[in-house]
Amino acid sequence: MTIREMKKQDPKILLNDAYNKVVEYQKKLNASITIIEPEANASDGLLSNIPVAVKDNFSTEGIKTTAASNILDNYVPIFDATVVKKLKEAGTVIVSKASMDELAMGGSNLTANIGPCHNPYDLKRISGGSSGGSAVLVASGAVPLAIGSDTGDSVRKPAAFCGVVGVKPTYGRISRYGVIPYASSLDHVGYFTTNIEDAALALSVLAGRDDLDMTSSYAEVKNYHEDLNGDIKGKKILVFDNVVNAIEDQTIIAQFNQLVAGLAAKGALVKHVSFDNDLMRAIFGTYFIIANAEATANHSNLDGIRFGHRVDGNTMEEVMINTRTRGFSSFIKKRFVVGSYSLFEENQERLLRKAHKVRRLIVEAVMAELKDADALIAPASGIIAPKIASEEKIDELTDAYLIAENHMIIGNFGGLPSMTQPMGFKDGMPLGVNITCNPFREQTMFDIGLAIEDLTGLKGLVKEDF
């Protein structure tokens, strides 16, 4: 059911139904950090009385905001993030602060301080992360819209694993004011829905310049939902061959090829492109250096002095060290160590500056092709959601990992609008397809998404029996 159809229902029933599902599903999915009893919203905006979930790194006035970290698990913001303000003005009602990887660092949701979030298609499998709770609450049909953040595919990968639409718009399209950051040059606000119409509607509500986020864009905000058009005749679509070639699972390749053939049959002009494989293999290392170097600075305020959990000591320095040592998980500390390593003076040229240069070369290579086309398309992942207690670990030096599992980071490097939506199934688990477009061409992205939705028949996909 689309949000447009939901709005015809009795708001009280709609909100109570969503709240009850969030509460009931918590035992099996562990998708929420804080559950909020709904109160009707008097606004008659575009999302009037629509229940939503918000990732727990978005500041919510008077509601605990922990970013799934022990260091913040008593933090109650005194203000709303701009996205939260916009959601309220549009009439939504927040029923869940959703689980996530600690401080949004991770791709599994296994690092949340409340424990793993479970995939509704198979409770033994991960949701993906870092916006896993948001993905799962939409995939399970609890809410039709959930907000996430995406620094290196943290909306688009869990969307693929959970069978929902995951949107990361252009850098600066949605304000980040009030979002607990990971890496400022890569962070984007994104969101999840069950269909393209809702995805377009959500951007119409959330997009826009905000002087409180000086990286937000002045570009005109359109009525994406009103202008949706699934006619893709003449649209130029590039097939990302490096990704296809790096995927070992032939079931995924076959379904992807069938989808591309369907797009061609609808009149799209399909062209295969391949970029320098050395550049593609460097995506992950480039990302890991930049993201974690920026994270060390962004999280220097987590010291237990003004907010958050304090662990006492005899001096200010001891308080900070004790607080941070106990407050961060081992996983987060590893990422901080990488950031610190790349920022040491003797490593800056070799690592951080090098990463910034490689970032430019990757973006320039992709844009050289994309600027004359409408979209770049690829399977979102080469695997289904892994098992939570998986003993099989993917070799992180193979193309299957470096390229197939990390290609969506290009959207963060270049700030490009990028979206994942359901493509099909393997062994009962959802598969996702990713499309990436030119900056501020979200309308094109949604139009192509609508055509894909028509081909797959997976509009409004939810998994309620788990």
Partner: protein, 94 residues
């Protein structure tokens, strides 16, 4: 890189690592170094750094007017220790 280096990187960011964490990071760094080595295969001669996705100007220097003022009560609302309107920390001068 050895455990002493790793400890130094951590201490530089004001946290400590136990032996188990040190060993795990040391082990993971072997793979990470190989991944970072892939960047060395890219010729970046005459390439400028890319810090942000776009270079168009979205910043401006606002007028120096007080804006978004919060009350002292709100500022201290999340303070772990607070007394008489101040954040409480260990004595610096003893």
């Amino acid at each position: 890189m050895d455990k002493n280096d790793i400890k130094e990187y951590a201490n530089h960011l004001m946290f400590d690592l136990n032996d188990e964490e040190l060993s795990a990071i040391e082990k993971d760094f072997a793979v990470l170094e190989a991944q970072l080595g892939l960047l060395d295969l890219i010729d970046t001669t005459n390439t400028e750094e890319m810090i942000y996705p776009f270079e168009d100007d979205t910043f401006f220097l606002r007028e120096d007017n007080a804006d978004h003022i919060i009350s002292k009560e709100d500022a201290l609302r999340n303070a772990p220790k607070e007394r008489e309107g101040h954040f409480v920390v260990p004595k610096v001068v003893k």
